[in-house]
Symmetry: C2
Subunit: 685 residues, 2 copies
């Protein structure tokens, strides 16, 4: 494991070591001493014999042993020289804390690349530059200058935070620590010039104590490493939540001046995370909301929610939240209702949500009676306990104990929604995941359940090596359709004609109206130039159309490359299927609704090959027009299998490596079949 | 003001007064004594001469004075009798705390109605039953038994919480008190058998100290009172946020067994709140999130956001959140950028978001330098300050003071996103609205700005009295279209024919293909029965179609009521416009996209008449297909004005009071015009 030196070093040099424990070059020394590091700490400082009470050395060359890791806490040219000195010495990995490199522009990026090449040439790995450092509270290797470990004292735990940004490595850390949750890893990699967040994540996954990984990314240049991390994580049921910032254009611009991030179309990231079973957080609240649920170790069996509260309003609000976030309320079995009847007051309703009414004031043991009844119902997967008001007159410590006893006895998750601090704390201290509102609680449960569903259906992904700079050319429509044919896509009946007579004969053979188009790779929007003529159903009409198109081409100065005569097709719906090779992610396939709103209000889904049937059908279910695939208003369902076939063919076409992009628009879909009637393919030369 | 007695009584009787300050009949006495009530407190208890040290009286009749308000803290039959005794005595208003009435079913509802009629007969108003009581910390009139005033000690303030549910009156109270915000009114009205949340809100609006009203509703039976409250509130710029629970079907079911709520289609509620300028909260977090912004008294001038942070990651995340929630980032003017250049380190970017970088560590006055520069930019409406990490080495109390100074000097809102408790507290204690995350801060700002926009364009609404039980009948298609004609809607050219010859002549006159339909109010889905025949362009085709329809009708046993011959029309898009009389809200108009997905994936908006052009255009802008109204893919825009005309005509038709429902489907819209080609109208007899 090449990154072992960073996570579990036995000796650490600090270049630019400071006697002040509050300077960048001093903090790591303070932390190493304070948080239990047992290996050698080797300060490098040409001006002092001692640093924070430790023997210091004037240079890297003077070090008495070869350190596993060097922290480079000097800036600019000094940092560059230190990288060379460390590589020379045989250091395994160096962490560069200075900023002012890749995030400032092309020159900085070039400098980073030179440092990386020189380090790698001697087998040394680099973290940073612009890194706040790494911290492993399991080994005591705190190679970081973050202020946060003073502000929120650490406690070793089972969560790992790995981030490019220093702030976003310690913000989730701080929020979790404030909730009493232990955190083991807090790593900030900065500009990722060599070791990336993804590669580090793939190493941290091997720490058997880690049970939840939180990532913050501004760039994702090495998806293969994240795919590796996700594969290893799935094998041991370890969830990964990633906040990939830069969804918005403004955000991407800000990211490029922060860590020098390269933009990838944001929806490709969505598709990638979905494929790997990684939950994508939309912001910091999403990253940390459900932590107690993840760490509880439950494996949710389904989405069906039961709600129990002493307030009717909480019952109503929890039911509303369940619908809003997508958790259906469980329908209780008759035996559950009759068991509740014997426990609850006569006027209380015995279905879901369960309103305990004011009976909780007189019977403090009600939770111990109701929870096992609800939990025994096989239709219930999740339970929310809501206590909007408690305090004087209520034995809420007992409610918490009873809920905790039930939780420990079974394997179904329970959450509590409690706005009052002291009541919520009583529940939290019994190990119950707690939230301030019904909304937060249901939101967290939904994320938890959907993330587990996603992990269960996640797939592996392999990088396809592509050279984005290979020269390429557009095929004309006839060539494009022929290529689709070759890959097994049904295309409309057609003939590429050089002569009027051929077109006339085609129409006559077909016996139905045809369409005539100029065939040329040079003119993208043919209909706008009058180069597509429809509904030609007589010899005269076909001949006249041929002549009109030919003379239009002449007028435009475009060489004649033939006329495409084709059957006129209609179907229930026009879809679009396309794909291209992304420079980082390789083949990306798109499937969506077509028609006039295709660009203005897109309804489409991206997928990363290879693609099995279930993935494509899952994507079709995500489209707004999904009801068409099961039939609406008495119409027969559209042919899903035919669409799946087309998407798989496009996927194969892209994986083949010869095609840069393909656009099938429209794909005319009917209850039996899907026919490509226009296509544009760009191939590599 | 009829409800003055409830909000500012000079004497209060407690029927069922208890010596225990923790019983329902004892709590109000404790609170009245503790929270500064200066009028008479009159306990009624037949068994005790003294209650909590006060002289008690054996019955209502024995009271030495006529109390303004009576709290009825006895249950069942005793409560009913107490209502009579109070009414007899001349009490102005009574609060019934007992449950077990309307929420239990029809018998309970009838009992409520009887109590209301008997009270009203003597001029007494009723709150409840099932009410936790009312509390006005401005007058000390705490007529409530809520535990929460012990748990979170009250402090008079400018927020009013008015709720049917007891819990949802005090949950927002408790959350606001935990943030140090004072609350004046905390009212819980229960089943609303007489005084409703809406009527009480209309009274509370008159309290000049109140600056924010939070409502929790499970039913809304008297929209005219809420419209009155909203009108008065708008006149003095007082925002109202309403949580109307029961969005989901499960939620509505739970609400009906909680407060006996009657269901109104949830989207009608949305339309009503939108019209009145009321913000609809989706849950408790939405109710209280932006309180500090509302109480700050700013009037936002627009949505343009500036972001300032010491962390690049926060800049990126805030930009992402701004896009997600719908606040565009301000584009700084050149003078702003150059002014920032002179303040910030050379390597910092000088556009928006503003990354202060680590310069904040060495220049603690940076906020005092940067904020005025950003605030002076006329393109900036709102500012977010993000400080993800601070503490040792940072003079964060100064950051807070500098931000507060800037905030006080100007009129543009500033919010702070700060995950660390102590740093956030420093900002909050300087009067700056603070949030844990960028997401929360941007979410709150968005609500605040959009709510003000909504208040500025809000309209008044008047109830139309309707009798939902009047008998009614369906018009046939010809009658329906004639009615639309009469109200100024363009309909397709047509002729109602009794004879084949008439239909043949119509087609001949028209000179184009026609459609023939059976005209009958009895058959709703005519095309499914082969009673609609298309593209008839010859005498023979028309004649044959007439015969086929006639014989089909004969076979179905439906009397012949004529054949509707009509021109075949096509346009760019099929829309639907409809409307009906809601038993509570009166006329409701719907405008939406038509076509095959009209039911499966609706894209429509509801509106409450009367409707001016701006309201209808605003609704059109909310449709998914809105881009069609400005033209997509080189096509000319659809005729908005023609659609507006149709919607206004449907609105007039419903306000006319003779029509129960109207359904124009499809309305064929082109770049010039909108033509109704089918319609179904139900009229009162």
């Amino acid at each position: 494991m090449t990154l072992k030196a960073l996570l579990d070093p036995s000796s650490i040099a600090i270049i630019g070591a400071s006697d002040s424990p509050d300077k960048i070059g001093g903090r790591p020394i303070r932390y190493l001493k304070e948080f239990g590091f047992t290996g050698s700490i080797l300060p490098v400082n040409p001006g002092r014999p001692k640093v924070q009470g430790l023997d210091a050395f004037p240079s890297v060359a003077d070090l008495p042993e070869v350190p596993d890791v060097a922290i480079i806490a000097v800036a600019g040219e000094n940092a560059v020289e230190s990288v060379d000195a460390c590589a020379e010495k045989g250091v395994k990995a160096a962490i560069i804390m200075a900023s002012g490199f890749g995030e400032t522009g092309a020159a900085g990026k070039a400098l980073e690349a030179r440092m990386r090449e020189r380090a790698r040439g001697r087998g040394m790995r680099l973290v940073g530059p612009n890194s706040q450092g790494l911290a492993n509270f399991g080994t005591g290797a705190i190679l970081s200058f973050s202020t946060m470990f003073i502000e929120s004292p650490p406690q070793d735990g089972t969560v790992a935070c790995i981030s490019q940004s220093g702030a976003m490595s310690v913000v989730p850390y701080g929020l979790l620590r404030a909730r009493g949750i232990g955190v083991r890893h807090v790593h900030s990699t900065g500009n990722d010039c060599d070791v990336t967040v993804s590669e580090l994540a793939a190493a941290v996954v091997d720490d058997p104590e880690v049970r939840l990984i939180l990532l913050y990314l501004e760039t994702l240049s090495d998806p293969e490493n994240l795919a590796l991390a996700a594969r290893k994580a799935r094998q041991r049921g370890l969830p990964i939540i990633a906040l990939k910032a830069g969804r918005s254009e403004d955000g991407r611009r800000a990211a490029s001046s922060h860590t020098g991030a390269i933009a990838t179309p944001d929806r490709v990231i969505d598709a990638f995370f979905e494929k790997l079973g990684i939950w994508r957080a939309d912001g910091v609240p999403d990253m940390v909301r459900a932590t107690e649920l993840y760490l509880g170790g439950w494996k949710p069996r389904g989405r069906k929610l039961a709600v129990i509260s002493n307030s009717g309003a909480t019952c109503v609000l929890a039911a509303d939240a369940a619908e809003r976030f997508g958790l259906p309320l469980a329908e209780f079995k008759p035996e559950t209702c009759s068991a509740l009847k014997s426990v609850l007051p006569s006027f209380a309703a015995t279905n879901n949500p369960v309103d305990l009414t004011a009976a909780l004031l007189t019977n403090s043991g009600l939770f111990s009676e109701v929870l096992p009844v609800v939990g025994a119902d096989r239709g219930v997967d999740l339970t929310l306990v809501g206590i909007p008001v408690s305090g004087q007159g209520y034995d809420y410590p007992r409610f918490a104990r009873d809920t905790a006893d039930y939780l420990k006895a079974g394997d179904k998750p329970v959450v509590a929604a409690i706005p009052q601090d002291k009541v919520r704390t009583a529940f939290a201290s019994e190990g119950i995941p707690t939230f301030v509102s019904e909304d937060d609680a249901v939101n967290a449960l939904t994320q938890f359940v959907r993330h587990h569903e996603r992990m269960a259906t996640a797939k592996d992904w392999t990088r396809v090596e592509i050279d984005p700079d290979r020269p390429r050319k557009m095929l004309d429509e006839s060539q494009s359709l022929d290529l689709l044919d070759a890959f097994g896509i049904t295309t409309m009946r057609r003939r590429l004609c050089r002569e009027v007579a051929e077109a006339v004969a085609f129409q006559k053979d077909l016996g139905r109206p045809i369409v005539l188009k100029a065939c040329s790779a040079e003119i993208p929007h043919k209909s706008e130039h009058g180069l597509v003529l429809l509904r030609l159903d007589t010899e005269e009409a076909v001949a006249e159309a041929c002549n009109r198109i030919t003379s239009t081409l002449e007028r435009m100065g475009v060489p004649f490359q033939g006329l495409l005569a084709a059957e006129m097709l209609s179907g229930e719906r026009e879809l679009v299927v396309g794909g291209h090779l992304d420079p980082v992610f390789g083949p990306v396939v798109m499937i969506g609704d077509g028609g006039v709103l295709v660009e203005a209000v897109p309804d489409n889904v991206l997928l990363l090959p290879d693609l099995d049937q279930a993935e494509i059908e899952g994507a079709l279910d995500c489209l707004r027009i999904a009801p068409l695939f099961s039939g609406v208003r008495g119409k027969p369902p559209l042919d899903r299998a035919a669409i799946v076939n087309v998407v798989q063919a496009v996927s194969r076409l892209l994986l083949d490596g010869q095609t840069h992009s393909v656009d099938v628009n429209p794909l005319i879909v009917s209850p039996s079949g899907a026919v490509a009637v226009d296509a544009l393919v760009e191939q590599y030369l």
